[in-house]
C-alpha cells in the first residue's frame, strides 16, 4: 500500500512563496508513467489527493532565466515553452505574447486591490 511513503528525496521549497513539500522525483520522467514526458526538469511527488499510486503531481522547477526554484502556482511562475518565475516574466514582459502580458498585468492589479 505504502510504496511511496517515506521515499522522499528531500523537501521542495518555493523560493518565492515558501510553499514546501517533500518531493519524490526530479527530472523529466515521472516514475511509472509510460508515455508521459515533462518538458522541463521538475520536482514532483505522488499526487497525494489521488488514490492511485502512479498519479504524479508536479510541484515546481527552476526558472530558466534566474534558476530560482519556484512552484508551479500562478502567483510564482508560469510556463510558456519554458519555466519563468514571475519576477523574470515581468522583467521581460514585452517578449511574451499579449495573452500572457494581460494575464500578468491582471494579476498585478488584483494583488494591488487585495493589498490595499
Amino acid at each position: 500500500m505504502d510504496f511511496t511513503e517515506g521515499s522522499a528525496l528531500g523537501v521542495f521549497t518555493c523560493e518565492l512563496c515558501e510553499l514546501s513539500s517533500p518531493y519524490s522525483f526530479y527530472g523529466q520522467k515521472p516514475p511509472n508513467t509510460r508515455a508521459i514526458v515533462l518538458l522541463e526538469e521538475c520536482y514532483g511527488m505522488k499526487d497525494p489527493f489521488s488514490p492511485e499510486r502512479e498519479k504524479f503531481l508536479v510541484l515546481g522547477s527552476k526558472c530558466c532565466l534566474c534558476s530560482k526554484t519556484v512552484c508551479v502556482g500562478t502567483d510564482c511562475s508560469l510556463f510558456y515553452t519554458k519555466r519563468f518565475c514571475l519576477p523574470c516574466v515581468r522583467d521581460h514582459l514585452h517578449q511574451f505574447p499579449e495573452q500572457v502580458q494581460n494575464e500578468v498585468l491582471r494579476k498585478k492589479s488584483v494583488q494591488k486591490m487585495s493589498a490595499s
Binding site: M1, D2, T4, E5, G6, C17, L19, S20, S21, P22, T33, R34, A35, I36, V37, L38, L39, E40, C42, M45, D47, P48, F49, S50, P51, E52, E54, K55, L57, V58, L59, S61, L65, C71, V72, G73, L78, F79, Y80, T81, K82, R83, H92, H94, Q95, F96, P97, E98, Q99, V100
Partner: protein, 1148 residues
C-alpha cells in the same frame, strides 16, 4: 486534402466505436490513464467541453490572431535578451507535459495507405485533436491538485500555532514534558502532531477523550500531511483501527492507551505521547496522567506533550515538575456578551416546566435587529432533554409563524441521523436554531453559529456512595464552561452571546467544572489500578486525588463483587475482570456465563447492556412502533427484550441484508446501537477466548467447506472491500440544504416507515452511492451465518433460568424488592426498595413499567391471615443494571428473579436463627419460613450447590489464566463436562422446583441494628468441634461479630437475635441418618451438615435400582423434586430423604 475532409465527415466523436479506437492509442492497459477507470470517463467529458470551447474560440479567432502578430513585431524591438519565445500564442505552449505514443502512431502511419481507402479509423488529425485534449486534461488535473496543496499550505500557515512550530519541536526535544496551551481554533490538535512527525519522530501516539475525534483527526491530519491514501497517520479505537506497520502517528482514546499500558507497562512502542484536551479532566485522562508521571523516570527517552485549553495551566505544569508551558493565542472573532437574566416571574420552580419566554425574546430580538440575508445560526444551551423539548416546542411555534427559523434539537439520545441534521445548511433567509445540551460545548462543533444563548445550566452525573446511586442533577456551569459556550459564537465570524443570568451570577460561578474523578464511582478505575500493580490507590499521586471515601466505597464494592479478597488483593476473577473493558457487573456475567455454556446469550446480553439503548425514546409514544416492538418484549426482563431484539435483527440481517434499516425504523430502533452491540459482542468473545474461557471453535473452522462456497465468500468479500473503498472516497460529499419544515417532523420521522427519510438522502447518480456502509462493514467484520446460528437457538426454560441466575449473580448486590402494597397500587405508582435507597421506581422504558403484574405475588397463593400472612413461594426480586436519580430515583434494565433461591445462591451474607426458620440476607431482607425442616433442606441444598459452583468456577479460572495453554476450555483436566452438567442440573432444579412458602420483608433500620446476638461469652465450642469432626469439609467457627457459628464465608448459623436462641440446645432432637448408622440428638445445623457430607459418592458401586422404591416414592409431596440417579440412570420424583435412601441402596 479531400480525402482528409471526407474522412472527417465520417468521423464521429460521439460514436463509442470511434472513441474506442482512440482509447486504443492513448488509454491502453499500461498507460497513465486506462480505459474504464474513472479518469478515463472524466477525460471524455472534458473532451466534449474542450471541443465546444475550441469551436467557440475558432469563430472569434481571426481578429485576435491578427493582433497577436502585430504585437509580435513590437516585441523584437525592445528586447535585450531574446528568450526565443514563439511569436504566435498557443495555449499548448503553456503546458509542460507531453505524451509520446509514437509507437502506435507510427504503426497507424505505416498503414495510412490502406486505411485511407477505408472510411473509418482515426487519422492524423483525430489523433492530434485527441492528444491536445489529453494534454489539457492532464494540465487541468495538475492544476487542480496543486491548488489543493497550496490552499492546504496556506491554511496551515494562517493558524496561530504555525509561528510556534520550531519552538514546539525544540521544547519537546529538550524537555521530558511540555504543556501546549491554546484556545479553540489555534490548531494545536491537528498541527502539533504533524510538526513532531515532520521533525522525524516515527512513533507518536495522541490521545483524545472521544472516539469520534480520533477518527476525524486521523482523517484530517493524514490529509494535511499528504498521506490521505496511505497509513502514516492512523487511529485506533475500541472496535476499529486503521493502524499498519507504517503508521507513525496514531490517534487513540485515553482508555485504549491505558489498556496498552496494562499490556506493556513501559509503552516501549512510542517515542512521544501527546495527551490532548487534558483540561476536560475526564476520569481516564486524570488517571492516565498519573500513570505517565510514574512512568517518566523509567523511560527517560519518552516525551510527553500535554495539550490544553488555556484553563488551569499551572496545575498541569506543576504536576509535572514545572514543565515548560507554551501558550498560543486562539483564533476567535470578537464576541459581544449580553447579560439577560431571567426575571423572577419567569423563573421555573423545580417542579415546573421551563418558561420559554426568555428564549423566545432572544429569537425575536435577532429577527428585529439582524436582516435575514445576514447569515448566522443560533445555538442554545440547555441542561437536559426535557428542557430541550419544552423550549423546542415553543420555538417551533414561533418558527412556523415567522418562517425564519428551523428548530433542531441536539442531544446524545437522538438518533444519529437526527443529530447529523445540525450540520446541514439552512436555506437563504432562514436560520437554524439548534437547541442543545452541553454536547455542543466541546464534543460537537458546528460551524456558522453566530448567536449563542446560554442558560448557564448543566446536568451532571454525580455518584452518591451512600445510596450507591448515580444522580443526574442540574447545576450552574463554571466560568470555564461559560466561556467555552460563548466561544462557539465566534468561530467563523464576529458573534453575540446572550447569557440568561446576571454578571454577578457569572462572577459567582466556580472557575472550573468539577473533575470527573470527584463525581463518579471509581470501581473500574480502582480495579484497573490494582491489576496494573500501582499499589494502594489511596496513596497514588493523582493530579487531584479523589476523596478517600470514594476510594473506600469502590474497594468495598469490589470486595462485595468478589474481585478483591478480604486483604484487598485481586482475586482470580478480579484479574480477569480488570482485562475486560466493561463494567464489573457485565464482566462478571461474561465469566459466569462462559462457565455454564451460556456463552452466546450472555455475550449478547453483556454487549446490549454496555451500549446505549437501541430503543429510541421518541418512538415510545408512537403506537405503530409499540405494536411492532411487541413481539420482542420479554416479561422476564429488559436484558431478555434486548436479546430478543438483537436476535431478531440478526435474522433480518441474514435474510434481507440492508433491509434491516427499514426493519429498525419501523420499530423505532437506532440501528447504530445494534451494530455497536455486534462489534462489542465479538470483542467480548475474543477476550473470553484469549483467557481460555471459551473453547476454540476450531472444529467448525476446519470443517471441510466446499470449495465453491469458499470462493463465493471470497469474491463477496472483495466486492465489499471495494464498496467500502468507494464509499470512503466519496465521503466528502456536500451538506444538504434543510427544508423549512424540517424541525416539524422531528420525532415523527424516526418512527414512520416511509421511504421519505431515506430517499431524501439518496443522491441522484446511481444506486451505488446509496450503499449502506454500515451494512458493508458489518458483512466484512462478521460471519452472518455464524451469528444467525447463535441467535436462532431458542433458550429452553432451563437455560433461561440459568441465564437469569448468571445475570443476577453478575448484578448482585444491585437488587430491589417490590413494596408489599404494590398489588394495590396503580401501574404508574409501583414502588421498590434497594438496600440503600427506599422508594425507587422502574424507569418507564422498562418492560416492568408497563407490565408490573408479573412481579406481584398472586393473591390466591399468598395467605391473608394469621401467621401465614404473606407466605408464598412466588416472591420475586429485581436485579437491575443502573440506579439513576433524575427527578425520581429510577432503576433500569431490570430482570426478575425468584427471591429465596436467588438470594441463597448469590448473597454475600446469609444469617439464620437456630432452626433456620428466619433467614436474613445482607442485613436487610428477611425471609420467614414456617416449616423449619424444609428451611433446613433448602439451605442445605443451596450450600452444596454454591460450594460446587465456586469450586468449578475457580478451577475454570485457574485453567484459563493467560499463562495457560489456550483452548483447554471445558474439556480440561480439572473441570469435567459431567461435573458441570450436574451442577447446572442442580441449580436449575433448585431455581425451578424449590417448593417452599415463605414471607419476604424488608427490615427496618432499628431491626437491622439489633439483628445479631453478638459474640457470646461462652461460645458453643463443643458443638463446633463436634461438627467439624463430623464434617471435615466445613469448618464452623464462632463468628466474632455476629455471634453464632460461621459455617462458610457467607453463611452464619444461629446468629440472629430471636426468641428461639435461648433454647438452642433444646432444639437438639434425636435423629437417625437414613443412610448411615448415625442416631443421636442433633441441632438442625448438625443434621444439615451431616446430610451434606453423608451422601455416598454416586460414582461408586453401581447397582440396580429396586422397582419398589420408585413406586413408593410416587406419593406426591410438596418436598419431592426431580432427581436423576446417575447410577441407575433414571429420573425419579423423590423427597430429599428418599433420595438419600435411594443412594444408600447403591452403597450396600
Amino acid at each position: 486534402m479531400s480525402h482528409e475532409r471526407e474522412k472527417r465527415q465520417s468521423w464521429d466523436w460521439d460514436s463509442p466505436q470511434c472513441r474506442a479506437q482512440l482509447d486504443e492509442v492513448f488509454f491502453r492497459q499500461h498507460d497513465y490513464i486506462q480505459t474504464g477507470r474513472t479518469e478515463h470517463k472524466e477525460f471524455w467529458t472534458f473532451f466534449e467541453r474542450f471541443q465546444r470551447f475550441k469551436t467557440k474560440k475558432e469563430m472569434s479567432a481571426p481578429k485576435s490572431s491578427r493582433q497577436e502578430s502585430h504585437e509580435g513585431k513590437s516585441k523584437k524591438k525592445s528586447g535585450s535578451v531574446d528568450l526565443g519565445l514563439p511569436k504566435d500564442y498557443d495555449a499548448r505552449y503553456r503546458i509542460n507535459i507531453s505524451v509520446c505514443s509514437k509507437d502506435i502512431e507510427e504503426r497507424l502511419g505505416g498503414s495510412e495507405h490502406r486505411r485511407r481507402r477505408e472510411t473509418s479509423g482515426p487519422g492524423r488529425q483525430e489523433i492530434t485533436d485527441c492528444r491536445l485534449a489529453l494534454l489539457h486534461f492532464l494540465d487541468f488535473n495538475q492544476k487542480q491538485s496543486f491548488n489543493k496543496l497550496s490552499k492546504l499550505r496556506r491554511e496551515q500557515k494562517s493558524l496561530p500555532i504555525f509561528q510556534y512550530r520550531d519552538r514546539i519541536v525544540e521544547l519537546v526535544r529538550t524537555h521530558p514534558v511540555v504543556v501546549v496551551a491554546g484556545d479553540t481554533g489555534c490548531g494545536k490538535s491537528t498541527q502539533v502532531p504533524q510538526y513532531l512527525m515532520a521533525s522525524g519522530i516515527d512513533h507518536i501516539a495522541c490521545t483524545q477523550p472521544r472516539r469520534i475525534a480520533c477518527i476525524s483527526l486521523a482523517k484530517r491530519v493524514s490529509f494535511e500531511s499528504l498521506n490521505q491514501h496511505g497509513s502514516k497517520v492512523g487511529y485506533q479505537i475500541r472496535f476499529e483501527t486503521s493502524r499498519t506497520t507504517s503508521t507513525k502517528l496514531l490517534f487513540m482514546t485515553e482508555g485504549l492507551l491505558l489498556r496498552q499500558i496494562q499490556q506493556d507497562a513501559s509503552l516501549g512502542q512510542y517515542q512521544v505521547l501527546i495527551v490532548d484536551e487534558v483540561h476536560e479532566r475526564h476520569l481516564h485522562c486524570d488517571f492516565l496522567l498519573g500513570v505517565l508521571r510514574s512512568l517518566l523516570p523509567l523511560r527517560t527517552d519518552l516525551r510527553l506533550v500535554l495539550m490544553s485549553a488555556t484553563i488551569n495551566i499551572k496545575l498541569f505544569s506543576s504536576y509535572f515538575n514545572d514543565a515548560p508551558v507554551l501558550q498560543v493565542p486562539g483564533r476567535l472573532f470578537p464576541i459581544q456578551v449580553i447579560y439577560q437574566p431571567i426575571p423572577p416571574e419567569e423563573q421555573a420552580s423545580r417542579s415546573e416546566k421551563l418558561d420559554p419566554r426568555p428564549y423566545l425574546r432572544v429569537l425575536q430580538g435577532i429577527d428585529q435587529r439582524y436582516p435575514p440575508e445576514e447569515r448566522g445560526d443560533l445555538l442554545l444551551f440547555l441542561s437536559g432533554v426535557a428542557e430541550i423539548s419544552t423550549i423546542q416546542e415553543a420555538c417551533q411555534t414561533y418558527a412556523t409563524h415567522t418562517q425564519r427559523w428551523i428548530v433542531l434539537p441536539l442531544h446524545s439520545t437522538l438518533s444519529l441521523a437526527q443529530q447529523d441534521k445540525v450540520f446541514d445548511i439552512a436555506p437563504p433567509g432562514v436560520r437554524k436554531c439548534i437547541i442543545s445540551t452541553n454536547i455542543a460545548e466541546t464534543s460537537v462543533t458546528i460551524d456558522g453559529v453566530r448567536f449563542v444563548v446560554d442558560s448557564g445550566k448543566v446536568k451532571e452525573m454525580s455518584f452518591d456512595p451512600k445510596a450507591k446511586m448515580q444522580r443526574l442533577q442540574e447545576f450552574w456551569i463554571s466560568r470555564a464552561s461559560s466561556e467555552q459556550r460563548k466561544g462557539r459564537a465566534g468561530r467563523t465570524g464576529p458573534g453575540v452571546c446572550y447569557r440568561l443570568y446576571s454578571e454577578s451570577d457569572y462572577d459567582a460561578f466556580a472557575s472550573y467544572p468539577v473533575p470527573e474523578i470527584h463525581r463518579v464511582a471509581l470501581d473500574s478505575l480502582i480495579l484497573q489500578m490494582m491489576s496494573m500493580g500501582l499499589g494502594d490507590p489511596r496513596t497514588f499521586s493523582f493530579i487531584d486525588p479523589p476523596p478517600a471515601s470514594s476510594i473506600q466505597t469502590a474497594v468495598t464494592y469490589l470486595r462485595e463483587q468478589g474481585a478483591l479478597d478480604e486483604h484487598g488483593e485481586l482475586t482470580s476473577i478480579g484479574r480477569l475482570l480488570a482485562q475486560l473493558p466493561v463494567d464489573v457487573v457485565i464482566g462478571k456475567m461474561l465469566v459466569l456465563g462462559s462457565v455454564f455454556k451460556l456463552v452466546e446469550p450472555v455475550l449478547t446480553v453483556a454487549a446490549a447492556l454496555s451500549v446505549q439503548s437501541p430503543f429510541l425514546r421518541s418512538a415510545q409514544h408512537n403506537p405503530d412502533c409499540s405494536t411492532a416492538r411487541q413481539p420482542l418484549n420479554s416479561n422476564q426482563g429488559d436484558p431478555f427484550t434486548l436479546m430478543n431484539t438483537f436476535n431478531a435483527w440478526v435474522q433480518v440481517k441474514a435474510d434481507r441484508g440492508s433491509g434491516s434499516r427499514k426493519w429498525c425504523r419501523r420499530r423505532g430502533l437506532e440501528e447504530q446501537r445494534l451494530y455497536e452491540m455486534v462489534n462489542l459482542r465479538r470483542q467480548f468473545k475474543e477476550l473470553l477466548r484469549s483467557h481460555g474461557l471459551l473453547e476454540d471453535d476450531m472444529g467448525r473452522r476446519t470443517e471441510p467447506q466446499d470449495r465453491a462456497r469458499r470462493r463465493e465468500r471470497l469474491t463477496e468479500r472483495q466486492k465489499l472491500h471495494r464498496l467500502k473503498r468507494d464509499h470512503e472516497l466519496q465521503e466528502n460529499t456536500k451538506r444538504k440544504v434543510l427544508r423549512l419544515e424540517e424541525g416539524l417532523e422531528g420525532d415523527a420521522s424516526s418512527g414512520s416507515d416511509g421511504e421519505g427519510a431515506s430517499s431524501s438522502k439518496k443522491r441522484k447518480d446511481g444506486a451505488e452511492q446509496t450503499v449502506d456502509i454500515q451494512e458493508v462493514k458489518f458483512k466484512l467484520r462478521h460471519n452472518v451465518n455464524e451469528l444467525q446460528e447463535a441467535a436462532s437457538a431458542d433458550l429452553s426454560s432451563r437455560q433461561q433460568s440459568l441465564l437469569k441466575l448468571v445475570l443476577c449473580r453478575g448484578l448482585y448486590p444491585q437488587l430491589a424488592m417490590p413494596d408489599e402494597h404494590n398489588a394495590n397500587r396503580k401501574d404508574s405508582e409501583q414502588v421498590f426498595h434497594t438496600r440503600n435507597k427506599q422508594g425507587v421506581v422502574i424507569h418507564p422504558t422498562s418492560v416492568f413499567a408497563s407490565d408490573p403484574e408479573v412481579l406481584h405475588v398472586p393473591e390466591h397463593e399468598s395467605s391473608e391471615f394469621g401467621a401465614d400472612k404473606g407466605q408464598s413461594n412466588r416472591h420475586q426480586l429485581l436485579a437491575f443494571v443502573t440506579l439513576l436519580e433524575t427527578n425520581k430515583p429510577y432503576v433500569s434494565n431490570c430482570v426478575r428473579i425468584p427471591a429465596l433461591q436467588a438470594l441463597l445462591l448469590v448473597a454475600n451474607s446469609v444469617d439464620t436463627n437456630a432452626d433456620c426458620s428466619r433467614v436474613v440476607v445482607d442485613g436487610w431482607l428477611e425471609l420467614g419460613l414456617t416449616d423449619g425442616d424444609t428451611a433446613l433442606k433448602v439451605i442445605s441444598s443451596a450450600l452444596t450447590l454454591r460450594g460446587e459452583w465456586e469450586r468449578l468456577l475457580q478451577a475454570q479460572l485457574r485453567q484459563g489464566g493467560p499463562g495457560s495453554s489456550a483452548g483447554l476450555g471445558l474439556s480440561g483436566p480439572k473441570v469435567s463436562r459431567r461435573e458441570l452438567e450436574k451442577l447446572c442440573e442442580g441449580l436449575v432444579r433448585f431455581l425451578l422446583y424449590t417448593e417452599v412458602s415463605y414471607s419476604l420483608r424488608r427490615l427496618t433500620g432499628l431491626q437491622s441494628q439489633n439483628l445479631y446476638i453478638g459474640p457470646q461469652q461462652d461460645p458453643d465450642l463443643s458443638s463446633a468441634s463436634v461438627l467439624s469432626s463430623l464434617f471435615p469439609g466445613m469448618k464452623a467457627e464462632p463468628d466474632p461479630i455476629k455471634g453464632g457459628l460461621r459455617v462458610c464465608s457467607y453463611f452464619t448459623y444461629n446468629c440472629l437475635c430471636d426468641s428461639k436462641d435461648l433454647y438452642s440446645e433444646c432444639l437438639r432432637t434425636f435423629w437417625s441418618c437414613p443412610h448411615c448408622d448415625l442416631y443421636m440428638p442433633l441441632t438442625p445445623l448438625e443434621r444439615m451438615q451431616h446430610e451434606v457430607t453423608c451422601r455416598p459418592p454416586e460414582e461408586q458401586q453401581p447397582e440396580e435400582e429396586p422397582e419398589s422404591v420408585n413406586a413408593s416414592s410416587s406419593s406426591s409431596s410438596a418436598l419431592t423434586r426431580l432427581y436423576h440417579c446417575d447410577i441407575c440412570n433414571k429420573d425419579l420424583t423423590l423427597t430429599s430423604t428418599e433420595i438419600l435412601k435411594h443412594k444408600r441402596q447403591h452403597l450396600s
